[in-house]
Symmetry: C5
Subunit: 360 residues, 5 copies
């Protein structure tokens, strides 16, 4: 639940730019790694201190500084001072519940977005905030947790022939965004499978648990939607933004990511429509079942209640000896067979009536 209102950690009234450590450490030790490359050279190293990264800033080569874990605030502060990052940006990086957005600070672009993962066991979407600082020759990527989906990019970086090695920093930023958005399709696929499964159950013989499954899917879709909708503006912003940090040749790539984002949004909306249709079908099938239960009760009761009444009549103890009007049937020689026949006729009459009503 708390995914939805991730506490802005600074308490009301604190100065803007006051960095507070995250509530829970998602990582035991902050991990710093650095890639520095141009078309010919390539360097990759794990850093012990953040200061080791600063000399690369002056080099003309592209530098990718990757930071996993946000709880060591002095690392953030040092980076802020060295790369001239605005205090409010640092605060946003440190506090996890940001809405996806892009900010143009002239010297650098600040991009926030949400890396998602779908835990198919617990059927919930997990989100992690990614913050990207895109400068003229560097990209700084802040992640909340260790581990990511960018290994393919790292692989490409190590390859001398790859396009990424021949391109400036904005292309690296594009590749990061593209990878994140592509991964949304994986989540959509998994969600789609779950929706399909729920749909099939509802069409077949739904248990009551299905109600909770539908509700859960609805909630995950609300969350997904909340994470993906703002991305549209973000990437559109990147394309429209009048900045020298993104080159015209990279624009076409961002447009491609934009198309994918729209596709994700479209699919999320379709999923919402479908899940809500499934709910309707479920509710309606519950009504249908109740109807069926009621019919059986009505048939049983309607057939046997009159018969029981007749049996009750001839179970009465009026004294036939007092007067010939008192229950003379009891002394008829065919009283019993006749009564049984009457009962049979009534039963078949009612069965025929229910057949005509198409209840049987």
């Amino acid at each position: 639940m708390s995914r939805f209102y991730k506490r802005i950690r600074k308490r009301a009234g604190l100065s803007p730019g006051t960095l507070l450590p995250p509530e829970e450490r998602k990582v035991t030790k902050v991990r710093l790694s650095l890639f520095d490359y141009d078309e010919r050279r390539f360097e990759e190293k794990e850093l012990q201190t953040v200061e080791e990264a600063f000399p690369f800033k002056e080099k003309p080569t592209v530098t990718w500084l990757n930071i996993e874990g946000l709880h060591e605030l002095d690392i953030l502060e040092k980076i802020g001072r060295n790369f001239n990052i605005h205090l409010l940006v640092l605060e946003d990086i440190a506090s996890a519940g940001q809405r996806p957005k892009v900010e143009n600070h002239d010297d650098y672009l600040y991009i926030v977005l949400r890396m998602l993962d779908y835990d198919q066991e617990r059927k919930t979407i997990q989100g992690e905030q990614l913050s990207i600082i895109l400068g003229s020759n560097f990209v700084i990527l802040f992640q909340e947790r260790e581990g990511d989906i960018f290994n393919v990019i790292r692989e490409r970086l190590r390859n001398n022939e790859s396009r990424i090695r021949k391109s400036p920093a904005d292309y690296l930023a594009y590749r990061l965004l593209d990878t994140v958005v592509d991964y949304y399709f994986v989540i959509l696929e998994k969600l789609g499978e779950d929706i399909e499964e729920v749909e099939e159950q509802v069409m077949g013989d739904p248990s009551e648990d299905i109600l909770h499954d539908i509700h859960r899917l609805k909630r995950e879709l609300i969350y997904l939607r909340k994470s993906v909708w703002p991305l549209r503006e973000v990437i559109n912003g990147l394309i429209r933004e009048d900045t020298r940090l993104i080159q015209d040749t990279t624009d076409v790539f961002f447009k491609d990511v934009y198309d994918h984002t729209i596709q994700v949004i479209d699919t999320v909306e379709s999923f919402r429509d479908m899940v809500s249709g499934t709910m309707d079908v479920y509710l309606s099938s519950v009504s249908n079942k109740m109807n069926e239960v009621m019919k059986i009760l009505t048939i049983m009761a309607s057939i046997f209640i009159p018969l029981t009444f007749i049996a009750g009549i001839y179970g009465m103890n009026f004294n036939p000896e007092v007067s010939p009007w008192n229950m003379p049937e009891l002394n008829w020689s065919l009283g019993y067979p006749f009564t049984l026949s009457l009962m049979l006729v009534m039963a078949f009459g009612l069965i025929f009536y229910f057949k005509k009503k198409k209840w049987l």
Copy 2:
């Protein structure tokens, strides 16, 4: 279901423009055919290799290269190199789940749209991605499957007098789009018939299966909507786009297609409203039926339960010999007829009551 989230086949992190073969081959062999024409000349041939098409590019005549099947990636690559198609465009052509869009690449326009077909047996809409590359004197059409709805256009091409022979390449592109959009009306008509049928069943005596039919119609309409809505922007884009590839005289034709697209969208929305109204009527008629079932049960039970109780009373075995207070009625000479009469009165009273309540 997978129609809704057609996997973007490139896995997260792969370089943009990496072509991957489609997951399933929808065609055994890629079929290449070519039409080359101007007002006087006309040439039509089946190609064995894609290279045969390249010389036509230099000719001033209009060339239509038609490619059915997408799994031979080297054909795509060769076309890309020869016609200077951007890598991302090739990737979009190769991956099937694109959202309809138009891209202006100066030298050519790239148009993606969705050819639809309604399988009235299985009551589902089938989609196939069409990619159109419109250059100054050529049109390349990529289809996923063999067979299409463009034979009428081919027929017109073979006719020396036809307008299409006297017009440049953008007119051919218009005819392709127009044919696709016109075919949407065929689908609307079939869907409309199915909606009408479902409506009539719901108004009459609906079986429970109708629920699934309504749900299915809803889902198909979600899919249709998802395919058609973006088309509006696409064709509007074609009209607004500042490109020398579409001539002013062709604009009026694209406006006509635009009007038809709006009409399709309007109708899809009306259909959605109608199907959802049908669902309401169905749910309400289920309630009404339950009501009727309950009434019959209530009538039967209410009438016979008190009668049975009276019969039960006089079935008790209190000993009249012990005291005159014990069931003296049993020894009355008219006890039995009187009791029967009492029962009749009660029954008619209740029947009258139910009549007044308009349950009978």
Copy 3:
């Protein structure tokens, strides 16, 4: 139903501008009539052939050519050639299911709209497509069927003093549109009466048929909405369009029509809200009725089932002679009156309980 997706008659792939005869002839013979007037002169005649109308085109007077029936395609073609009407416009005139729109072809404006009528017997709205060609000194009006609502205009034309006689062709076009939109209010009034009637029935004692009535009203409102919404853009287009065909002095009249159109749309939306509210009330009153039925069943059953049980007890045949523990009550001198009293007490207790629950 077919109102909603009126088949675009040209089959997919036919050349644009291919005229096809309408599927059903709504008129046995095409009727051509012509009004030619200026402030001083007035001429009115029925034409045998369309060629008779052509000389009037050259005259400076205003000419109104009225064509009822669309199935004689050569009339359309001749008019097209003589008045320089675009092929696509002719096609739109001939095919009935057009969405209301306005097209500026420099020399003339092409306006499509929908003349509606409400058949209060069959409770359905009938639509007829009107196409208006407005030139600098002529108006051509195409109707699908014979008979219209424009007789008042004809009357005014015959009157030398009327404003219409002193005004140019755009004022005549305005009067035609105004008359059509005014007639929508008549339809709204009739629909409003039907909605009110349904509402009163739902509030009172609704039969099950009311469900179908509500559904029908909903469907008619969907259709009405689909016909009226686009009109807003049409008339706005006429006001905004930069054309010398509509003079500044006429603009104020079109603004008046625009206001009326908005009013129609507003009312349609209010009607939709009201009908959908009526549906809710109906559904809820069905639930209430079921509740009432259930209460009666529960009251009857709850009161008599325990009593019958007691009667059943004393109907048992345990042998009191075997032991004093076996049904000694049967031999009590006040056993029977006591049992009856017990029953009365139980019955009144339950009645009191149900009174407290406000079920009685």
Copy 4:
């Protein structure tokens, strides 16, 4: 109901500007009153004929001509001629069902809005159309009925020191609008009280009538919304309109009215949400009640039906003398107490079961 589609009285085809008398006279005699003032002078008089007002038009002082009752068309026509009012404006003034709007006719502004009143007895909102003609030094106010809410303004006018006396005509128009919009808050307050009352009843022990109350509230809110929404554009239009008739110093006052209008709209939307939430709660509480009824029936039936069955068993007349297998229990010395105990155990078992299910 007819509030929603107030007939545009002119029949289809009548010339624009044809004045028709209103269908019902809401006033026996048209009442004309006039205020003429500037900072020093003040004149107030009841007019016998409208001609008495015309000389004031030439004076530089501000003139307020107030007309109550619209059925004397020649008064309208005379005013129209004398003040140069457009025919269409006169027609709009005379026909009651206009949508709120503002029209800039250079020499004067024409403002239509809706004066509302809430009849708390009959629980309906009554509307009256107000038409304001704002000229450079005069305001003409047309009302359908006698009596209004502007007495406070008249009081201020009689006061030499009041701001209104020192201000030009646009300020008077502002005061009229402001008074009307302020009065909407009174209606909101009354409606709010009714909503609250309905809500409390629904939360407590709702009768079935509440359904009609909710529906009525919904309908009144639809009507209120329809009257208030267009006002937003009207007042925005007054602020944006480029006219010398409204001075820059008055703009800030119109902005104030604009804020109030937005507040009214906001509240209407919140009310709609709340009423619709109340409907949901009501429907749900109906379901809950049905559930409770069903539980009682089920408990009663489930407990007594098996017991009655057992009693039935021992009421059978199998002959124990024929064989020892026939109902030996009847001759057991503890048969009866044992049977009664068995019944008690069964009853308590079932009661325990229902307790566990939390039905009791």
Copy 5:
């Protein structure tokens, strides 16, 4: 309830700018406090009369005048005269139900917003109107009640080193807004907890009260939404407004507040979706329960009713002595065991049938 339509206290027709005392005094005595500071100096004092504040206006230092309580109208009037505040602004400050807005009066900005608090006991959101007057070197803050959330800001002001001391008046205004918006997250968190709790109850074993809880949450969300939505425009207005009162360096801070506002709005919308989903689940679980109740009734009745009928048969008193056709079973030596067996077989048959239907 009255939160939603807080009476605009001036009665219809009163002059604009007429100050009326608030209906209820929320504070016994108006409290005036003042902070005057620049980078070096800092002065803080409680004022006895508002006149004490006026000299500070002329000083170049930043002055924060804080006023708690609005019922002493002459204080408002004096401030209005001294600081040149427009009459309408004073009226808005004095009347509590304003919609959040910003007004640019050249010399000062007038900002209204809503301070919210969530009373977790009574589960309602309390609102208090804050009015901020931002001049070139002063900020006047009007609060309805005593006590606020700005102590952290006061603390910072007392600190010589704080950024706020080095910044102009617009930065103080930003800090006030920021604090208010940050506090919304606290409310969201509390509401989120309540929603989660309700959700868990609905998923588990909901009591009927949950219905009222859901309704209450819905209403609070409507209120929250109404308070927060307009804030978006307000802060956007502050950023866009072309005023020298907000410096370019402060813009980035307002953008930060803007982001937070969007986040609050997003979360409110998600909450609405979730609460409405919870309602659906609740309704559906009510249906499911009813279904279960019906099943138990049906099972009990269907099993025992036929058995009771059989018992009834053999309770009949037909005289076997009259004829061998009359109830010969009674004299069979195995009549009773056979009948009991028949009953057992029927019971098990029905149980088996219900098992197959998955009701047991």
